[in-house]
Structures are given as structure tokens and as C-alpha cells.
């Protein structure tokens, strides 16, 4: 791989697995999507340049996820490791693709940069919000290979 942009990122501890409750095993209990469930879907996405997950790099945090199950909305703020990270769009796109595949289509997913943490925050957000450009990107086989690597099996 070419030179790493952020040579020595801070690495954080992973959170503990979600504890199963009795209700989780009861088929009759309606189990709406919550922040923890969304976090679990995306926290093991790999960083494009480090053998670490987005959770370990604090790119994703549960506290920056908002879910309104009734209104079908999921909103995610992610924090690039450095303010000039050129991978920001790719990371955002990986989060989008993962949720596109995992969530029922009723959900409107918004993926944006945590305000104030990236130099080109506005333009990255605009690209990630533009569903037509996202659709075109997803037809790019090279890009999809990279994204699939990011959202594939987590590295142990």
C-alpha cells in the first residue's frame, strides 16, 4: 500500500457485546431498531488503510447514532481520524452500503461527518447525501471491491 496518511492513529478499546435479555429471545416481543443495533451493524467495518475497525479508531461511536424506528430514520455521524483524511468519502460510503444491505428499505439513512472534524465536511456530506451519485458509485466495480473489503469479515 502507498504511504499511510495517518501513520499512528489512536486506537481505542472495543465495547462489550450486547447482553441478551429474556425479551430478545421471546419471538412475540416486538424488537424495534435501536442505536445499539445499528452500531453493531457497522462497528466492525474495517478502516481502508489500517487493520483496525471503525470502532477501534473511534470513527464510529454509539453516542453519535440516532435512530427513530417509528419515523424510519437512521442518522450516523462519523469522525475521520484526521481533518484532511482523503478516505472520508470512502468510509462514509462503506457505512451507507452496509446499512443499505442490512436494513429494511423503509429506513432513510443519513451518513454525515461529525461537525467540525473534517476540512471538507460540507462537500463530503453533500456527496454522501446525493443518492444519484451514490447509485453511480455502487455501479463502479473497482470501488465496490474496495468497499466490500471494508465491510467484509472483520479482521481479528
Amino acid at each position: 500500500m502507498a504511504e499511510l496518511e495517518n501513520i499512528n492513529p489512536n486506537v481505542y478499546k472495543k465495547c462489550e457485546d450486547r447482553k441478551l435479555t429474556k425479551d430478545d429471545e421471546d419471538e412475540d416481543v416486538v424488537d424495534p431498531f435501536d442505536e445499539r443495533e445499528i452500531f453493531d451493524l457497522i462497528r466492525n467495518i474495517n478502516d481502508p488503510e489500517h487493520p483496525l475497525t471503525l470502532e477501534e479508531l473511534h470513527v464510529l461511536e454509539q453516542s453519535l447514532i440516532t435512530v427513530d424506528n417509528e419515523k424510519n430514520s437512521v442518522s450516523i455521524l462519523f469522525t475521520p481520524t484526521i481533518p484532511h483524511c482523503s478516505m472520508a468519502t470512502l468510509i462514509g460510503l462503506s457505512i451507507r452500503v452496509k446499512l443499505l444491505r442490512a436494513l429494511p428499505p423503509r429506513f432513510k439513512v443519513s451518513v454525515e461527518i461529525n461537525p467540525g472534524t473534517h476540512a471538507s465536511e460540507h462537500s463530503v456530506n453533500k456527496q454522501l447525501t446525493d443518492k444519484e451519485r451514490v447509485a453511480a458509485a455502487l455501479e463502479n466495480t473497482h470501488l465496490m471491491e474496495v468497499i466490500n473489503q471494508c465491510i467484509g469479515t472483520p479482521l481479528k
Binding site: P105, R106, K126, D130, K131, E132, A135, A136, E139
Partner: protein
């Protein structure tokens, strides 16, 4: 309890669902009525064009499915005003022109030149010209040369590089050879031919939206334009000539377009399409909140500061609504298309 609510039963009945059409796999991006209103074409991410007609039981069916024109998503389709040609714009960077000269729909011309995804295609009123726009930031104007018993030829007569970003939509004026385009750079631009040298020139950019302008539509007079945007608003633009009574200065280009009305607070997400009915004057919008809304200019509206009222909001689809198209002949008949893969036909009945 508010006096006016979308849950109100009597309001709901104003928008009657005529038929739900399935057939596309995945998102339906666009659709276009044949000028006769007896046929329409639709397209989407499944790379097909469906041509719909009514069967004997008065139901719309996909009479033909065109699968061989494009290798990627088909973003837009448009019938020529004469009704003989159908053009399709694709992410594969090409525009295909289809006709039925052989008895079956066939792609008899492929327009190449854009460097990136083609987002929209439109035919001039006369049918002599075609315009396309692309992710490559340019708008192209093509002249159609056709002669009996000869193959049609398409000549690119202008490449217009006014926009600084992805161009989302092109739309011809209803009577004149004036073209409008809308872009990711938040602006709308108009183009016309200079009478002296026939060169295509750009008018001043129309700036007011604060995010991507997804679509535009002229009214029947061509003196007004409606635009819709990622910024969740609709704007109405009015053309002013040198003789205008308001004293609005007109530059050397002759006319100037001013934003005279902004409809904000009605849409909760991006507004992906707008269509201004040439017969009824009704405005329809397609929104990322799955809703289709209908607006009308208020009876006591001041032409220089018009007011529009929301007549109807209908939960039209289960996912984003991408397209709205008024029927060219039947007043109040509306087509909508969505990410949910469905096309719906509606009849709007005014209370009057």
C-alpha cells in the same frame, strides 16, 4: 386539531389511485408520457426501458421491454414532440435514440461524447434538437438531421460548460428554442442561440437555492419556471424583459429571470422532481419523504410576488418518490415513480 390536515378523509379522496404498475427490478428513476398520452416509457436501475400501453381491459401493461440499449442504469427517458422517437440517458455515458420505423422499437442511434454519467435528456418543441447533460458538468445540444429513406444523423452543435458541478436536469422551453439546466452547483442556467451568429450562449446563472437543484419545469407560457432542490424548497422564477414595469434592470442579453417565490416548510426531505402541468397549471412534486404534493397558485396571487397553496399531500410510495409527470391530454392525471420499484397512476380531482 388543525383545520387542514393530510389525514383528513375528504382531502385524501381528491387524489385517486388508478393503477399500480410493477415490472422494473429495483429503483424506477424516470418516466415520460408519449405526446398522445396513450403510451408512456419508464426506466431505472435494471437497465431496461418499459413501454406501457393500455390493454383491452383498460389496464396499463408493459407492452414492450427494451433491454439491449444500455450497460448501466438508465437515468432518464424522453419522447420527442412528434412522438416518433424515444431517447434514453444512461450512466454508461451514452444516449440511445429509439424508433419504430421497422415496426418494432429499435435503437437506431447512440450519442456518445460525454465523459461521465448522462443524467437527463430532452427534445426541443420543434423536435429538431436534443439536449443532454452529465456528471461531467457539461450540457450538449444535438441537431437532428433526418431525410426520407435515410438514417437520422445527430450532430453536436454546442458543448456548454457553464456549470461547475454535475448537471442533473435539462428542460426545453415550451415554445422557443431556449434550454434550461439544473445542477449540483445549486444554480440553474439558460441557453439560447445568438441571432447574429447562431452560436449558443449562456445567460447569467440563476442563484437562490442553497443545495443541488434536482429538477426544473416551465409553465405553459414559458415565462415562468419552477425548480426543486435538495434544500427542501421549491422556487418560482419569473422572466422579465427590458420593458418591465418594476424597473428590473435587464442586461444586454435582453431578459432576466428572478426568483419571485420560495415554497419552504412543505417538504421534509430532498425534492427530486417537479412538473408544472401545461393544461391545469397545477404543480406536482416528488420528494424523498415518499410523498407527492400538489400546489396551485392562489386566486388573488400577485404575479410579481405570487403565492402558492398546497392542495394535497399523498403518501404515494414506500420509498423516495423520484418522478412526477402530468398526463399531456387528461387534466389531473398524474404518473409517479419511486425507489420502491413501482409506478403509480393517479387522478387528481379538484373540489370545484
Amino acid at each position: 386539531m388543525p383545520l387542514m390536515t393530510v389525514e383528513n378523509q375528504s382531502e385524501k379522496e381528491k387524489m385517486k389511485l388508478l393503477q399500480t404498475l410493477t415490472g422494473h427490478l429495483g429503483r424506477v428513476w424516470s418516466a415520460s408520457w408519449h405526446p398522445s398520452g396513450t403510451i408512456f416509457a419508464s426506466c431505472g436501475e435494471d437497465k431496461t426501458i418499459h413501454v406501457w400501453m393500455k390493454n383491452d381491459a383498460d389496464r396499463w401493461i408493459a407492452e414492450t421491454v427494451l433491454t439491449k440499449g444500455h450497460t448501466r442504469t438508465i437515468r432518464d427517458v424522453a419522447w420527442s414532440c412528434c412522438g416518433h422517437y424515444l431517447a434514453s440517458a444512461s450512466f454508461d455515458t451514452t444516449v440511445a435514440v429509439w424508433d419504430k420505423k421497422s415496426g418494432e422499437f429499435e435503437c437506431n442511434a447512440t450519442l456518445e461524447g460525454h465523459d461521465n454519467e448522462v443524467k437527463s435528456v430532452t427534445w426541443s418543441r420543434s423536435g429538431g434538437m436534443l439536449a443532454t447533460c452529465s456528471r461531467d458538468k457539461s450540457v450538449w445540444i444535438w441537431e437532428v438531421h433526418s431525410a426520407p429513406d435515410q438514417e437520422d444523423e445527430y450532430e453536436c452543435v454546442a458543448v456548454l460548460n457553464g456549470h461547475t458541478q454535475d448537471v442533473k436536469k435539462v428542460c426545453w422551453h415550451p415554445h422557443e428554442d431556449i434550454l434550461a439546466s439544473a445542477s449540483y452547483d445549486n444554480t440553474i442556467r439558460m441557453y439560447r442561440q445568438d441571432a447574429a451568429d447562431n452560436e449558443w450562449e449562456m445567460l447569467e446563472p440563476m442563484e437562490s437555492h442553497s443545495s443541488t437543484v434536482w429538477s426544473i419545469s416551465f409553465d405553459a407560457t414559458g415565462k415562468r419556471l419552477a425548480s426543486c432542490s435538495e434544500d427542501k424548497t421549491i422556487k418560482i422564477w419569473q422572466q422579465y424583459g427590458p420593458d418591465n414595469t418594476l424597473g428590473i434592470p435587464c442586461p444586454d442579453k435582453g431578459t432576466v429571470w428572478k426568483c419571485v417565490c420560495t415554497l419552504s416548510g412543505f417538504h421534509t426531505r430532498s425534492v427530486y422532481d417537479i412538473d408544472w402541468c401545461k393544461r391545469t397549471g397545477l404543480l406536482a412534486t416528488a420528494c424523498g419523504d415518499d410523498m407527492v404534493r400538489i400546489f396551485r397558485e392562489a386566486a388573488d396571487s400577485d404575479p410579481n410576488e405570487p403565492t402558492f397553496e398546497l392542495l394535497e399531500t399523498v403518501m404515494a410510495h414506500y420509498q423516495d418518490a423520484n418522478k412526477v409527470a402530468w398526463h399531456p391530454v387528461i387534466p389531473g392525471m398524474l404518473l409517479t415513480a419511486s425507489d420502491d420499484g413501482k409506478i403509480k397512476l393517479w387522478q387528481y380531482e379538484d373540489e370545484a
